[in-house]
């Protein structure tokens, strides 16, 4: 299997789907001639033409709304928000039109909305957000957040093939830092299935996206403790079975995400564990997240906000000692 970056794996998955199915096309700001702000669609316009790699006007509701119309007529648009933060400008079409379409009138909306998300590079308050929790309150949307190159390719394929609107969070910090072996050709990673990133018996860190790597690094050598790392991969649907299975095995849980704390994905995971696995716990369920503040620009400020390896180590040590 060839080794690829996380970014190349997304490109590869997109390209494979576009080659396989003429109804798949990309739309977004600067994705054509420029190849995308992060170059995910680099070379696409040459291969697929300007119609299927559409440089749209700077209008996020237009991107998503137009995609909805094309999708109900049988096309499979893949929308790129230049940064996840800008989904706020297309929010209405996503949560009111796309998400509710099937419930209200039985019509499938097979669109994929790619969100380059996350911080760690001084992007400031509008180029660093992790907005996934917004979508968990919007029934009808599926939400995925891969952490590896292999999953990045497999999940973009399953997002495109799924008959529902899928929000695909691709973490910018992983684009060129994460590399891995990626199968050639088309394959899908099923939506709604978590992945055990490392087996363990003493404690589970539940995470997704960029924080999976942080979890692995923080717990790689933690005074001999055997720490399981569960990579959720899919936030909607949430793989509750895998979460509870791991909790029942280790009895101690740290929930880790880069997004802000209150009412985040972690809160939902904690509530699930409290309700379904209370008797299995040997300690409080601990959250490690960004605090409830916007993401600041200056490096020391940003580091103070985003969960760091040491924060995870400390939380795990405390819980192991409980």
């Amino acid at each position: 299997m060839p080794e690829m970056t996380y970014l190349s794996a997304i490109s590869d998955g997109l390209r494979e789907e576009m080659r396989h199915d003429e109804s798949v096309f990309c739309m977004g700001e600067d994705i054509g001639a420029f190849g995308g702000a992060f170059k995910v669609t680099d070379g696409f316009i040459e291969e697929f033409g300007a119609d299927r790699v559409w440089d749209t006007p700077l209008a996020e509701n237009a991107i998503i709304g137009t995609a909805v119309g094309a999708a109900v007529e049988g096309l499979r648009p893949v929308c790129e928000m230049q940064f996840a933060d800008f989904i706020a400008c297309g929010f209405d079409q996503l949560v009111n039109v796309a998400a509710k379409m099937h419930y209200r009138q039985g019509l499938a909306v097979p669109i994929t909305v790619r969100l380059p998300s996350g911080g760690g590079f001084s992007g400031g308050p509008y180029h660093s957000q992790n907005p996934e929790a917004w979508f968990l309150q919007s029934p009808g949307l599926k939400v995925v957040a891969p952490s590896t190159a292999e999953d990045a390719k497999g999940l973009i394929a399953s997002a495109i093939r799924d008959p529902n609107p899928v929000v695909y969070l691709e973490h910018k910090h992983l684009y060129r830092r994460v590399k891995g072996e990626v199968p050639e050709g088309r394959y899908e990673v099923p939506l709604g299935r978590a992945r055990v990133a490392r087996e363990g018996t003493d404690l589970t860190v539940i995470s997704y996206g960029a924080m999976v790597g942080i979890a692995l690094e923080a717990t790689d050598d933690l005074e001999g403790a055997s720490v399981e790392v569960l990579d959720l991969r899919s936030l909607v649907p949430l793989d509750t079975e895998s979460i509870l299975k791991s909790v029942r095995k280790t009895s101690k849980v740290v929930v880790l995400h880069e997004a802000t704390r209150s009412c985040g994905v972690g809160a939902e995971v904690c509530a699930l564990i409290a309700q379904e696995a209370f008797e299995d716990l040997d300690g409080p369920v601990v959250r490690v997240t960004a605090p409830d503040v916007p993401i600041p620009f200056s490096p020391p400020l940003e580091r103070a906000v985003l969960p760091q390896v040491d924060d995870v180590k400390e939380a795990c040590r405390e819980l192991l000692a409980y």
């Binding site: 299927r52 509701n61 999708a71 109900v72």
Partner: protein, 353 residues
Amino acid sequence: MATTTAKPAAIGDGGPKAVLTQEDRRALLRYMLLMRATEERALALYRQGKVPGSYYDGRGQEAISVGSAFVLGPRDRTCILHRDLGAHLIRGVRPGRVLAQMMGRAGGVTGGKEGNMHFGDTELGCVGMVSMLPDMALVTCGLALSFQMRKEPRVAMTWFGEGSTANGQWHEAMNVAGVRKLPAVFVLENNQFAYSTPNDREFAVDPVKRAEVYGFPGVKVDGNDVEAVFYAAAEACERARSGGGPTLIECETMRMHGHGAHDDMRYVPKELFEVWAERDPIDRYEKKLADDGIDIEEIHASVKDELERETEWALSQEMPDPSAALQGVFATSDPKLGDGNAPWSRWKEASHA
């Protein structure tokens, strides 16, 4: 059957002529009458407590949805607004299903998931509206985009009030339609008020003028003249089908009921209301057709019969089972939009050709 033509209108440069036969004109009147009768019945059901929530209709605006939707061919697609029951009826939605929809019955178009006119019969090519206006203008752009990408001579048509033109999404839609030259027809219903806010507080320029700055034609017609609306829509559809891009049609009209049944319209000056009452689109068209020798009473009687049957059917429908509330959040397959009814004689001729 009489095939006398009314006012043939040239479409485009040397393109086909839109022609209304006497049978077409009879149909235009019948659809307007059926829309009004269905809405009057729905309002009566609302007052009897059988329609939950509030109730919204398009009284006085019947010529717009009927005149414009009548132009559409089977494979064209629509996003229809809550003032435009006529478009649903033309595309083939039965009045009984509309009444059942209003009453939240299982037999309604959305099976009770949605209320009022917030529906689209997907089997008849309609994507139902949402309450955020004018979101469907962008969905219409997407439908049109799919036709353009596949090189199909099809049209996407949508309707919205002048109030919608203040919202940014309307401008996003106009811009996208203009820049991609999409085969879309935007029917703007200027009914003088956005809920209670009059035109002079809504915009500083007549919204039809905005079409030009987005790079496509805008035309203004008497929205209470069903044939004027028809000819404007026919020209716009022909332009769209032949690759000429979108058209904005502003139909000047007046909302003769409140925004909803809860609205007593106290903000509407009495004189203004009276002026528009004199211009009722159905009264006007009845006189015109009667002068042309068409039997109006026969049409009234047939509408009355149909509505009685349809009301009876709607009232016989069950309320939905509560378990349905939890079903259908996610799709498990890709159901497609179906084709709509296309009663204009041009399409019947095309299918016989």
